[in-house]
Amino acid sequence: MRIRDQFPLLVSDPGLHYLDSGASSQIPASVLDTVHLFETTQRANVHRGVYRLAEAATAAYEGARDEIARFFSAARDEIVLTSGTTAAINLVAHSFGNGLAAGDEIVISELEHHSNIVPWQMLRDRRGLVLKVLPVTEDGRIDLSALDRVLTKRTRLVALAHCSNVTGAVVDLARVVAAAKSCGAAVLVDGAQRVPHGPLDIPALGVDFYAFSGHKMYAPHGIGVLWGGAERLQAMPPFLGGGDMIRRVTLETTEYAPPPARFEAGTPNISGAIGLGAACRWMTGLDWPAIAQEELRLTGRLLDGLARVSGVRVLGPLGLQQRIGVVSFAMGDTHPHDVAQILDRHGVACRGGHHCAQPLMDRFDLMGTTRATIAPYTEAADIDALLVGLDEARRVLG
């Protein structure tokens, strides 16, 4: 069975060449079925009621946490369910960040998504911190040779993307972790673009925080995870206050629940979490070595095709080493929105714009790029349709 055939939206629209999984992936039938089953047979609030339905809902929700933890080789109490990567990073910026003092330093890079820039700028302004930036190389990688220069004894956190959402470059996390630990800094990883591309042993990375979203890994929108080491989370104060994150409340004071509940104030996205658990289960059943090979083959096909289109400049590694199938390119002075609009005529769904990475666009003096993302359901026909569409875009807009 083709992987594509497991995705109802793709089956219902055979002419669609969906290459925007870097923004939102599609959802397989098994995940949709799981969410539908929950909403039609178990829907109730969690951690509250004593009636059977509420107990079933709680079991389904916490069972999803177990599945997520298993998929990422983590302990269940290290899985904090959030609304996505952005919320996870903001949680750290507030909770971990409030323990920082004026003059402390945070290190990010020039290629980060705005979600891994703005929370740190806001924290800098709240706490009087120093925000330092690792530069990006000409081929769209974080320049790790600058680590020695940028990290100091005042560095408290290094926050980097595992894979760039623009260039597709994969960072050498082992090198980042070694450098950060040598000066006593914690490491936060924005894993939003990494998690759709196969299983990952998060604790083995040696990082302190790992943030990711469900909607890029075949789950519903509005659900995500902050993974934090148990001791790290235990030492952190809550971010949002409300229901579910408490042990005991009086009018004078509150005793907080232990992690992960401490960081999950309010009624959570229950069906989203159950969907994310189902997505982990679906991903567990795939042949990832074969998929990884196919994704790289298609990435190579796309890069080769782009090299033949006059005026195209790829923003990112031209080779297949240490990269994922996220390929961004500029076509002369043509605006990426115009390119994406013409690609749509060919049934090709591609993202055009700055991809929430305006500092990276400034670095390369670009107003934006067109981006294609390769996923397990991507096929050669999708890449070929993109290349045919580009020919027309060049002809019309040239």
Partner: protein, 134 residues
Amino acid sequence: MSDELYQEALLKLAKEAPRKGRLEPNDASVRLDNPLCGDRVRIDLRLEGERITDLAHEVRGCVLCQAAGGIIALRAIGFDRAGVARLCEDVDRVLAGGTPELEELAAFRPVVPHKSRHDCVRLPFQALRQAAKA
């Protein structure tokens, strides 16, 4: 349909727009960014009172945004604040599916069903309006 967007008239407005670049010295200059797509527009005006006597536009954006800059370059000289306001209302009219008073704005009719692109058209007019304090 997307293919209707890029008609000859629109492409011509974008490519052949006069008064591209900066106007120095100027009496008013406004730069606006579209945070969603990164389009960036600057409108420089020379004014006598509130009447526009000369202008320049610098558009780093899509064809729609460039064409909008082109129409401003062709038509806005001589306008006072009320004229600029009327022009902007005419843009809103065409994007709402109506018939514009200014013939060139009809080039934007194919944009009507593409709501995500309306701001591409509006951005230069918004910059003009701010610069003219209309």
